[in-house]
Symmetry: D2
Subunit: 291 residues, 4 copies
């Protein structure tokens, strides 16, 4: 049985500081939580940054740099995975839906990856979804994704493709053919977000039926689906992800006191199912990272 790679998504950009006092916000806090996750078994940390004053999502390269350096001061073992999520929202105006309303943050591809180009982590995510998000629209059309993929590939960063529907997987297959990604393909199935994949076996089976052979996949759930999806992913041969980006609770009504406890529980589930956790070095071998 392949060992299981645990990714910890430590803060994201949706969770708000008023939802939990344990959300890491400053570069120092984020770095500390990454290390805590690492000590519990995470091989990869998925990083967003925030404005240290307000806790609001940020794309500032400086915050990314400080976070990365603080982690690297402690260990170079842990695999770093930076987000490229911000810049994909379109809000149609009510009167004329072709005009962008306030809140729209659509950016051209090159403006979504400067922190990745500057800091060159081993991995960055690419979102492949175009879908409704309430009455907003998430837009990641093929032209955009392909250019982002090209930019990060050219500095040697491996993309992790975030997939929310079977259509995203079709786009992933196209990308893999158009670009010369280093093998294997690395994808995540994001399950339980409204209008995305439901957190069910049937959704996972559809995803797996479309997956290119040899791809490394992680299925993870949000909210109360987080730990059930850890088990379901392991049972079907996938890797796992937990973290405060996805879920605030250790169990019903019990806030997780940081990302460490979430990772600790995920590791326990994997082991209870007979699995083993991959070290960062083992994860690098599985993912074809480094040399």
């Amino acid at each position: 049985m392949t060992k299981t790679i645990l990714t910890c998504a430590v803060t994201g950009n949706i969770t708000r500081p008023d939802q939990t006092p344990y959300l890491p916000i400053t570069p120092a806090q984020i770095a500390d939580d990454c290390i805590a996750a690492y000590r519990q078994g995470a091989a990869i940390v998925h990083i967003h940054v925030r404005d240290p004053e307000t806790g609001a999502p940020s794309m500032a390269v400086g915050h990314y740099r400080e976070t990365v350096e603080r982690i690297r001061d402690v260990t170079s073992d842990l695999i770093l995975n930076l987000t490229t999520g911000p810049g994909q929202r379109f809000l149609p105006s009510v009167e004329d839906p072709s005009v962008a309303a306030e809140g729209t943050n659509l950016l051209p591809p090159a403006e979504r990856v400067p922190h990745v180009l500057a800091l060159q982590p081993e991995v960055c995510t690419l979102d492949l979804n175009t879908m409704a998000s309430g009455n907003q629209v998430i837009i990641n059309i093929p032209r955009t994704v392909e250019e982002m993929a090209r930019l990060v590939r050219d500095v040697g960063v491996k993309p992790e493709l975030e997939l929310f529907s079977s259509g995203d997987l079709v786009m992933a297959r196209d990308l893999m053919q158009q670009l010369d990604f280093s093998d294997p393909l690395m994808v995540s199935f994001v399950m339980g977000i409204k209008y995305g994949w439901p957190p069910t076996v049937e959704a996972l089976q559809l995803a797996l039926s479309l997956l290119p052979e040899g791809a490394i996949w992680t299925a993870f759930g949000v909210g109360r689906h987080s730990f059930p999806m850890v088990a379901q992913s392991v049972l079907l041969g996938g890797h796992i992800r937990v973290g405060l980006e996805d879920n605030l609770y250790l169990s019903k009504g019990e806030l997780a006191e940081g990302n460490g406890p979430l990772c600790e529980k995920a590791v326990r589930i994997v082991r209870d199912l007979g699995g083993e956790i991959a070290s960062p070095q083992e994860a690098r071998a599985l993912l074809g990272l480094g040399s």
Copy 2:
């Protein structure tokens, strides 16, 4: 075994006149093909109209009215289903993706249904998809769909919800709860369009796992998947749709000489599998139409 309802989608708005000489374009041609489909067993015809001069898609109420009247001159038995598709495309500009490029045709909900309100067919479609279509974006956010549904419901038109991903089915369930749709829910699964559901059993199983009990469903495929999906839908208990909107060929390399032959072949497949074709009256009973 429930009888099978055959819908014929006679012209659509994607197929171009230069692709096949058999595409009906004028109201008279469209009406004739509807009658031809009816004579072969179609209980429902799904109608778009076109500019009689150019063959380009049109939303002109006059063309819809002429088409409907021409059909009604021949028979009132056949169930009419008008599209509300046009008005959902957004093309992000390359330099600033938040600005609509030429080709964008996004419309507010009220401007997408005047022909339905004027002509009050028994059924109209509502597209529930927000997705990439090449580098264009199809946008049907919940607010838009809900208002369109409310408008058509208020004049007694039953919506057929067109679904392209599992997320669309989640929106369909919400709609069913928010509005007082007459039972049963009527949905179509559109399979084989790029970035939509793939034309596979796994996709259909995911769709069915999310479908509200009692819903009447049709699964149909586009292009070369059209006739295979006729069989697959019947085998799993669904209804069927064919027509020049979805597919131009009777068999590989052989253009269908109109919608009649496509319906004839679909009916043969249903019967070869032991099924029976529902008459329009039987379809009305299944769909809760009329009074």
Copy 3:
């Protein structure tokens, strides 16, 4: 979410004393392990008895009586479930396969249930499988199962139907119609025994596709599949079973020191997935036991 019923199968008749020193053999040991399972959260114990001298499987009513009385001396809360398994093996002779070879123990139905009729536990199992077991044949033809079901029903014992293939589920449906079982139907899917259901999601989905609505089901695995099937069953809405009848190990290479630790681990998995364990009284309500 329905609470999860944990059954502990404490000794079975396949496991041999030389495989683990923790196997309960005497009525006193078996009763003690039932109580240990109960203290860890088991609502039901599934009981076989053994010859106290040799550890070999036994059908002696006296051993069953002593075991039941020893449990009842401690608590009447725990639900007792006695096996009716022995008496179903046929070994074809090599030269003339129609002649039973030594080791054959096929019994007429009435001779397989005297302990159940005498002791009237709340539940007894009925095996519905006819299948190869190596070069032996397990035989439970409909005539036999129906008579056993009738006999135990007439003394008020609820049968739990043990199913090893989709065919067994067909027989279960027939039985339910022929006899006047008290609702709901109670079934177990035995997964991972050679020539029976494989311990996979696809097998479970086939089983569930055939299950009568409202049935209470448990899916459990043998050997190293035991704990993964605990998780898979809970994730799909089923109940669970563990115990030394099914599996000797707490984790790879680590023998379980009795049934208590196996139950403790199963309970931890259920809770880690967000589930709750049903008490015996809650299990009785779900199963329609008692009055």
Copy 4:
């Protein structure tokens, strides 16, 4: 898309002459129907013989020889596939189920294959099922099947493994490893027989999830499931089988006037789904037959 191999099972041993006047019984009739099937597109005929006087199933080598020679007088193109089914029934006595009752016909392996050894067709079937058949028991334990497989392999006959449950597929995989079968493995999934696989997509998916890579598979249904399973098998990439052994009716209430019309209809379904029928030579290439 791979071409579809059509097998016609012309008479079997379950169908009775009083059920249809079109059942071929004498070697001449069976040979004629094989040729009729071939002319409609069958690449393989699956042959049982019967007592020409009574129509009862027969194992007489002479009848097989006459049938084969009559076919070979017309064509050597058609692939011949002889059954080895008879000799697998055990009827437990009511009073003592370990004693065989009248009707039992269990035979040692060597006595089930003399016609195959004598006539050396390109293919013969091997049944891998042990299961209830009403209150009778079909017995094909691994020891028996392995010896039959060895005997036919040693005279250069390729076995087609007939599978009725997921357990049979496990036995098939073992066989493939123990013996030096010529690639590819050739299997049939028999669907719709009571206590065997139900004629459903879920059953087929379980079967396919267990199938060794590269295996050539046919899924076929009995009775009214015959033609639906033709379509379902083709839709999932499998080959097909029809014939009076499996089903007497061309459509509901309409007896098929021989095997030719059943094949004609199967071929029409394949073509309507966009498939093509394999000639016997194309089938040989797919199956690795000949040299």
